[in-house]
């Protein structure tokens, strides 16, 4: 069998590596329109040739090991694993991308440069002479469009050809004075280092790369000679070594740009025109709020609701008509079948009231989920969400936070797990921990059913368009408020990390990528309904149907409650779940929901947030099946004494600790049991305080006061104080001054 060929994809963040990776491997790796989406390498085999293994490396700006991504990429490239490196270059930003290209070429590995987004360059009127650039770099250069697939076949064939070649010494040369010094340093590099890699290490030694001496095992005498050579060069050039090499690379790039690129007369592009409005200092934030309002309104209040209502009322309700033929609902079909096979009442209840009711309630929200993700994916793929990060950076920076923290939050709108993972790109440990703690406040896809349930319970059939977006903005406000408060504490004080990101040109997403994006999320939701949610509904059914006959006249025996003699209509009140929920329900009494059912929903929601709705469907179906209006909304609303209680329940469940998967990821990211406890404790505590304030202020507005009103006012005062008090003295002294943010 032929030996595998290893191809590494390297390039700047957001240059389209993952799009190319997905296209050539047939994978569905997550593609985002912001940097840091690929936080570690991904590996897959080429669709057209399984002997080619493609590795998608994290996006980096240089091979200097300053950030975790740069370290990962450099170590991988220099580890000797790839047979060829495909350097993906954003051709619309060639000058900046070439800095990494020069470094990749310097590694001495076989390299092919892929000028991605060549179609956009052509559209702008600019012209890049790929042949000339290839001669200047000494490696093949091919123009491609990863999105449209043009040039990709040629790229693969070039990569295969280069992989078969032996490594070569890089062709480009710096100023002769610098080259003289590099030649001398090369002589000092141990003889075991292959010729093709000697120049790379010589440059690294010149730059005084701390890890280079160690990696090469340079003797003290050789290291001293290198230092003497570098110091002399620094004196001659009147600059430090790193800046000398940086300057030389940029000088080379400037020459290449002059020779190889013909620019069209400068004019404002459509993207720039749109950005003048969308990222406007004053309009940027209101536009973002308006866009997200529209997204949640459309997903939950209009198209999505109509479809979800149809599913709930017909498919999982009373049946429907198809071409004039009456079709039974899923529960009816299952019940009939169970009766036909002679299943007992207990098994029928387990299947119909447990599994079908629970899983069905979650599946019922799929139409809303589809609409939400169609809209969110469009905003991500067209480039708008990258602008939001830029707009939010401006807001965050004012409060001492970094816009870099907003990237994980954007990712979290899909799922908290990759959102927490995306915090890996934040170098400042305090900022990273704070982002991990707050990123799951943003409602993920799994929380959408909770929002829809709350909306149904709060407004019923009336047209209150603001309810659903309100809960999204609650998450955004929770992030900002928490960020400001935490930043003023010793644990998180510090200068914000500078945030540099490139804004991609606006473009209409490819239908394939858009559809894949939506399918990934919706299919994951369906998969979860039939796995975690299914198992949870079985457990909840057992806990809510088995219990002790402790009612007046009961025998005190433990068993299946509905089959017991003299069982009251509300038999679930005697179940194990009622006992467990009731034991901790007092915690939520000040929040306006002290019933064991609401407590059970909140607790099962910690396994997976969809469980809140699944458990509601199971418990409320059992409790209210005889009511005139059996809809889930009505039964759910009936559990609470006031609207304040419903709002508090929603706020608590949306802001408290996330699902088990996200909690596990938080544990891994924090790499500390103490910090994990701090994060989860803060989330639950903050959610409880927000719920308390909502309920108590609602009650106060209706003339009901208690000791909890005082507690809520005290918490509100504490939060306001923490928000408005100036940053403590010396809070920013732990970090060096940073440049203004760029985008």
């Amino acid at each position: 069998m032929a030996q595998d060929i290893h191809v590494a994809l390297a390039g700047n963040p957001n240059c389209g590596k993952t799009t190319l990776f997905n296209r050539i491997t047939g994978q569905n790796g997550y593609v985002g329109n912001w940097p840091g989406v690929t936080v570690e390498k991904k590996e897959a085999r080429l669709s057209s040739d399984k002997s080619v293994v493609v590795t998608d490396l994290p996006g980096i700006y240089s091979l200097s090991p300053y950030s975790p991504e740069e370290r990962v990429s450099r170590d991988y490239l220099m580890g000797g694993e790839p047979d060829v490196v495909v350097n993906v270059v954003d051709a619309t930003n060639l000058e900046r991308n070439l800095y990494l290209t020069l470094q990749v070429v310097e590694t001495g590995l076989p390299v092919v440069v892929a000028l991605n987004m060549a179609d956009l360059v052509e559209k702008s009127g600019d012209k890049i002479d790929a042949d000339k650039l290839s001669r200047r770099l000494g490696v093949p250069v091919v123009a491609i469009s990863a999105l449209k697939g043009s040039g990709v076949d040629e790229l693969i064939s070039l990569a295969r050809r280069e992989a078969a070649k032996k490594a070569e010494v890089p062709a480009h040369r710096f100023d002769s004075a610098i080259e003289d010094v590099l030649d001398k340093i090369e002589q000092l590099v141990p003889a075991t280092v292959p010729t093709s890699k000697r120049r790379y290490w010589a440059v690294k030694l010149f730059e005084r790369d701390a890890s280079a001496c160690e990696s090469l095992g340079l003797s003290d005498a050789a290291a001293a000679k290198v230092e003497a050579l570098v110091a002399a060069c620094e004196k001659d050039c009147d600059d430090d070594a790193e800046s000398i090499i940086t300057g030389e690379r940029y000088a080379l790039i400037a020459h290449m740009m002059d020779e190889c690129v013909k620019r069209a007369p400068q004019r404002m592009s459509t993207s720039e025109k749109i950005d003048r409005v969308v990222t406007n200092r004053i309009l940027g934030l209101p536009i973002f709020f308006a866009v997200m309002f529209a997204v949640y309104y459309l997903a939950i209040s209009t198209f999505g609701t109509a479809a979800t209502d149809w599913v709930n009322d017909n498919l999982f309700g009373e049946g429907f008509e198809l071409f004039g033929t009456a079709m039974p609902s899923v529960p009816d079909v299952v019940t009939s079948w169970l009766e036909a096979v002679g299943a007992s009442a207990m098994v029928t209840s387990l299947v119909v009231d447990g599994v079908v009711a629970g899983v069905g309630a979650v599946l019922g929200f799929i139409p809303q989920m589809v609409v939400l993700f169609v809209l969110l994916s469009f905003l991500e793929d067209c480039g708008y969400m990258a602008r939001v990060a830029f707009v939010m950076d401006r807001v965050f920076r004012r409060f001492g936070l970094s816009g870099k923290s907003f990237i994980p939050m954007l990712v979290s709108t899909g799922c908290g797990v990759p959102g927490v993972l995306a915090t890996k790109t934040i170098e400042n440990e305090k900022d990273r921990r704070m982002t991990v703690m707050t990123t799951t406040f943003i409602p993920c896809g799994a929380k959408l059913p909770i929002i829809a349930l709350l909306m149904g319970a709060l407004v019923g059939t009336s047209d209150a368009t603001w309810i659903a977006p309100l809960f999204y903005f609650l998450g955004v406000v929770a992030v900002i408020v928490s960020g400001i408060m935490l930043k003023k504490t010793k644990l998180f004080a510090g200068r914000p990390t500078p945030f540099v990101m490139e804004l991609p040109s606006y473009h209409f997403p490819s239908i394939r990528s858009w559809a894949l994006h939506v399918w990934e999320r919706v299919s994951a939701y369906i998969k979860k309904a039939f796995t975690i949610i299914f198992a949870s509904t079985v457990v909840v059914w057992f806990l809510s149907n088995f219990g002790t006959a402790t009612w007046a006249g009961g025998t005190g025996a433990f068993g299946f409650l509905p089959a017991m003699e003299g069982v009251p209509e509300e038999f679930t009140d005697y179940s194990v779940l009622a006992m467990l929920g009731g034991a901790v329900a007092w915690i939520f009494a000040p929040l306006g929901f002290d019933s064991w059912q609401a407590t059970a929903m909140s607790v099962t929601g910690l396994v997976a947030k969809e469980n809140v709705v699944a458990t509601a469907a199971q418990l409320l179906h059992l409790a209210d099946a005889t009511e005139a209006d059996p809809s889930l909304w009505t039964a759910f609303a009936g559990m609470f004494a006031t609207t304040g209680g419903i709002m508090a329940f929603g706020a608590f469940n949306l802001l408290c600790a996330p699902c088990f998967a996200a909690m596990g990821t938080i544990r891994v990211q924090m790499n500390s049991a103490k910090w994990t406890a701090v994060a989860l404790g803060y989330e639950c505590g903050f959610a409880w305080v927000v719920g308390l304030m909502i309920n108590q202020f609602y009650l106060a507005a209706t003339g009901v006061f208690s000791v909890w009103t005082v507690v809520a006012v005290a918490f509100a005062a504490l939060i306001v104080f923490q928000l408005v008090r100036p940053m403590p003295k010396g809070a920013w002294e732990d970090a060096p001054a940073v440049a203004a943010p760029a985008a």
């Binding site: 994978q27 569905n28 790796g29 997550y30 936080v39 570690e40 390498k41 991904k42 975790p68 370290r71 990962v72 170590d75 991988y76 220099m78 580890g79 000797g80 694993e81 990696s215 169970l338 096979v341 002679g342 299943a343 007992s344 207990m346 098994v347 387990l350 299947v351 599994v355 990712v411 899909g414 799922c415 797990v417 990759p418 927490v420 993972l421 890996k424 993920c444 896809g445 799994a446 990934e520 999320r521 299919s523 994951a524 939701y525 998969k527 979860k528 796995t531 975690i532 299914f534 198992a535 079985v538 997976a608 699902c659 088990f660 998967a661 596990g664 990821t665 891994v668 990211q669 790499n671």
Partner: protein, 61 residues
């Protein structure tokens, strides 16, 4: 308890057991956008420390 009950209960128990095995194997990341790309728990970034990733990637250096 009739035969139908035994068969249905056995099917449900088997399905729940399959979910437990799946969770042990893959983690509970079914709703993660990485779903499907991490075939084994060991490869799932949600279960991996960044230092571990670096360690794995820098092998052979």
């Amino acid at each position: 308890m009739g035969l139908a009950d035994v068969v249905i209960l056995a099917a449900i128990v088997a399905a729940v057991a399959a979910v437990v095995v799946r969770v042990r194997k893959k983690g509970v990341c079914a709703d993660c956008s990485e779903a499907g790309t991490c075939a084994h728990k060991g490869h799932c970034p949600a279960h991996m420390d960044p230092a571990e990733v670096e360690e794995r990637l820098s092998r052979g250096l």
